[in-house]
């Protein structure tokens, strides 16, 4: 018996991709109440992510990158504005429907990893699939863990892993379902150059071979140069939109932001 009953399993995307969904963001605002006043984390963001594109989002700390990613991924609700995934306006969906759509479509790597401490690495990786009531493919778990450089760590608990290893478990979890869209909040933040490069190659490969749409937040110009497009934010607004910039150009533009 499944505790969660028979949750509908939305089809995992066929290999090779093809016509994925465009992500459209219009007039996105997000305010937080804090103390007596309000923080304007997003002040009207308009952007479109083409299917099968790889975008990096950059900007100073506190500029609203995480907030943008969370609103676009349906983790958070904007105060105003709309987010469409293809024909679906996700900002209008009820929480229940959104959760189901999200887990069938989206992989998310959190800035804070968000691993379940009581579960093993393998259990963490297959958790979203379990929540969908889907079957667990052990061979695939092994493969995706090997891809992130954690082959053989299935039975470990997250608490015994290093920060970078935990981060890679979170990446494996996001990739396991071969999501159509991948959001990653500083996925290489805790990794050394070489390991980081392996992960970025993996993300790139997902975009090129499976037509995955990938949006990644990063502070590292070198990491951003793996993307096709680099957006820069300051104070909750998009201020730069660069196509295939080099790491040097990115670093220079970044230096110019307040």
């Amino acid at each position: 018996m499944s505790l969660f009953g028979n949750e509908q399993v939305y089809g995992v995307r066929p290999e090779g991709g093809g016509a994925g969904r465009e992500i459209r963001v219009r007039g996105l605002r997000r305010e937080f109440k804090r103390g007596g006043g309000r923080v304007h984390a997003l002040q009207g963001v308009d952007v479109t992510f083409a299917p099968g594109s790889f975008t990096a989002v950059m900007g100073p700390s506190g500029s609203g990158k995480t907030t943008l990613l969370q609103c676009v991924a349906g983790m958070d609700r904007p105060t105003r504005g709309a987010v469409h995934w293809g024909p679906t306006e996700i900002t209008r969906l009820r929480e229940h429907k959104l959760a189901r759509l999200r887990r069938s479509t989206v992989g998310f790597v959190f800035q804070a990893y968000n691993l379940m401490p009581a579960m093993t690495v393998a259990e963490n990786v297959v958790l979203p699939t379990r929540l969908m009531g889907g079957r667990v493919d052990r061979a695939r778990v092994g493969r995706v863990l090997t891809q992130v450089g954690l082959g053989g760590c299935e039975k470990e608990r997250p608490g015994r892993l290093s920060g970078g290893q935990q981060q890679r478990v979170a990446i494996a979890r996001a990739l396991y379902n071969q999501p159509e869209i991948l959001f990653a909040d500083e996925p290489t933040g805790a990794l050394d150059r070489n390991t980081g490069r392996e992960i970025l190659r993996l993300l790139r490969e997902g975009v090129e071979e499976h037509g995955r749409t990938c949006v990644m937040v990063t502070h590292d110009p070198l990491a951003a140069s793996f993307a096709d497009r680099v957006l820069m934010m300051t104070d909750g607004e998009l201020v730069e939109d660069l196509t295939r910039p080099s790491a040097a150009v990115i670093a220079e533009k970044l230096g110019g932001l307040s």
């Binding site: 505790l3 609700r77 998310f108 691993l115 009581a118 920060g163």
Partner: protein, 446 residues
């Protein structure tokens, strides 16, 4: 997926052992008094029995449910972070609620068989004690009726599931990111609905006190106990507010000790900043103290008054019955206090580890712990006495024109001291074990 529900239970043994105990008590108490009622209906001349069982059982059952509900809310809040994490990996709100319902119902079913047995045994020995004292007809026995245990489990499951709805309200509504944000900062602010409910209960207590003054002693006593329970509910609802006021006042001397190596200042600042957590910690202590105080006041004031009017009117049997009831209430209060304090203190391991890593010495931590536990215990005692005060005064007025109730200090002082010792010991033992953990591992664990 069943594994996930049990996994959560496994990682919080302290919290769930406490919950299991509270649920066990609830099922056994209802089974016990259900069996008493069954005995009354099958015994000839059992109407007195029904009366005693009813008067006694009512309070005990309400108390058992209250303890079960607060413990449950507490255990569920203890896993908020895990539940919020599940939401971020796209568990639907419904799945989160189902997970919790499954835990609650599963745990109740698990504790039910032993609780039925305990309840049946308790009913038998209580009945035979009543028979011995001539308070029940000689031939009275507890019949082998399956209804009381079934009703007990069913009622506990219903109340438990209802409590689960409220406890999961915040975590299963709104966005995953709001759920996550909610777990890192307990604001201590309470919602308007809860405030309103709390104020209604306070109003109810006021009305009950007014009503109580004009009653016969027996009814007044029963009403006073109900009033004390209602005040407890009000405290549980409005908790953070009165808790913060009392702790700020009591914490003043601690804050003055801010010099040197003292953990007192640390404790005062810490405790005041976590009014929400503190109010969970003081509610069971206040429960223990408040109910025993009300109880003592009723018994002693009544005896004192009667002794003045009719010197031999107070029978030993009555005193015996009251004694059993106090023991029972104390048992509930103790379970609730131990459970809450141990899980709260254990849950703070990360905070203690952080303090160690940024340079707090072990001695400072121990002092902080000691200061905090004394502060918590005293706050609980003050609130408990405050809760007992209105109904006690009303009860005194129902007997005499004198609003000052009579309490025999010889009986009362041990209860207050016992409550403080119990709370301080529980918190210190749990705390010392927690700060003995390796801080570096504790902090890096996700």
């Amino acid at each position: 997926m069943i594994k996930m529900a049990w996994g959560a239970l496994r990682t919080r043994p302290a919290s769930f052992a406490g919950l299991a105990t509270a649920l066990f008590l609830a099922v056994s108490v209802i089974t016990m008094f259900g069996s008493m009622v069954a005995a009354a209906t099958t015994t000839e001349g059992g109407s007195d029995l029904a009366l005693i069982g009813g008067a006694f059982g009512e309070i005990a059952m309400i108390m058992a449910m209250f303890v079960a509900v607060t413990t449950l809310g507490f255990a569920i809040r203890g896993q908020y972070r895990d539940l919020a994490l599940l939401r971020t990996v796209a568990a639907t709100p419904r799945q989160v609620r189902r997970l919790v319902r499954f835990q609650v119902a599963g745990l109740i079913l698990l504790v039910s068989p032993p609780a039925w047995a305990a309840g049946a045994v308790a009913a038998r020995s209580f009945l035979s004690a009543l028979v011995d004292r001539g308070l029940a007809p000689a031939g009275a026995i507890v019949p082998g009726n399956p209804l009381p245990p079934l009703i007990a489990t069913l009622a506990t499951v219903l109340v438990g599931l209802l409590a689960a709805v409220f406890a999961t309200w915040r975590i299963s509504r709104g966005t995953p990111s709001a759920a996550m944000a909610g777990t890192s900062a307990e604001t201590g602010r309470i919602g308007w609905f809860r405030t309103l409910l709390g104020l209604i209960v306070v109003g109810g207590v006021g009305v009950l006190c007014g009503f109580l003054v004009g009653q016969e002693p027996d009814e007044a006593a029963q009403a006073a106990l109900l009033g004390a329970l209602a005040s407890m509910v009000a405290l549980a609802l409005l908790g953070p507010l009165p808790a913060r006021i009392v702790v700020t006042l009591l914490g003043l001397p601690l804050r003055l000790l801010r010099g040197g190596e003292s953990g007192g200042w640390l404790a005062a600042v810490n405790t005041r900043g976590h009014a929400h957590r503190l109010s969970s910690a003081v509610v069971p202590i206040a429960l223990l103290v408040g109910l025993s105080t009300t109880f003592m006041v009723i018994t002693d004031t009544m005896r004192h008054h009667m002794a003045g009017v009719l010197p031999d009117a107070v029978s030993d049997d009555d005193v015996w019955l009251r004694g059993v009831e106090v023991a029972m209430l104390a048992l509930f209060g103790t379970v609730a206090t131990l459970n809450t304090l141990i899980s709260l203190t254990t849950a703070r391991k990360r905070e203690y580890a952080l303090l160690t890593l940024i340079g707090a010495t072990k001695r400072q931590l121990v002092r902080m712990l000691a200061a905090e536990s004394v502060l918590t215990a005293l706050t609980g005692v003050v609130l408990g006495v405050a809760i007992a005060a209105p109904v006690s005064i009303a009860f005194a007025l129902s007997l005499t024109d004198d609003p000052v109730p009579y309490v025999s200090m010889g009986d009362y002082a041990p209860i207050l001291i016992g409550a403080v010792l119990l709370a301080v010991t529980a918190e210190m033992v749990a705390g010392l074990r927690t700060i003995a953990l390796d801080p570096a591992t504790t902090v890096t664990a996700p």
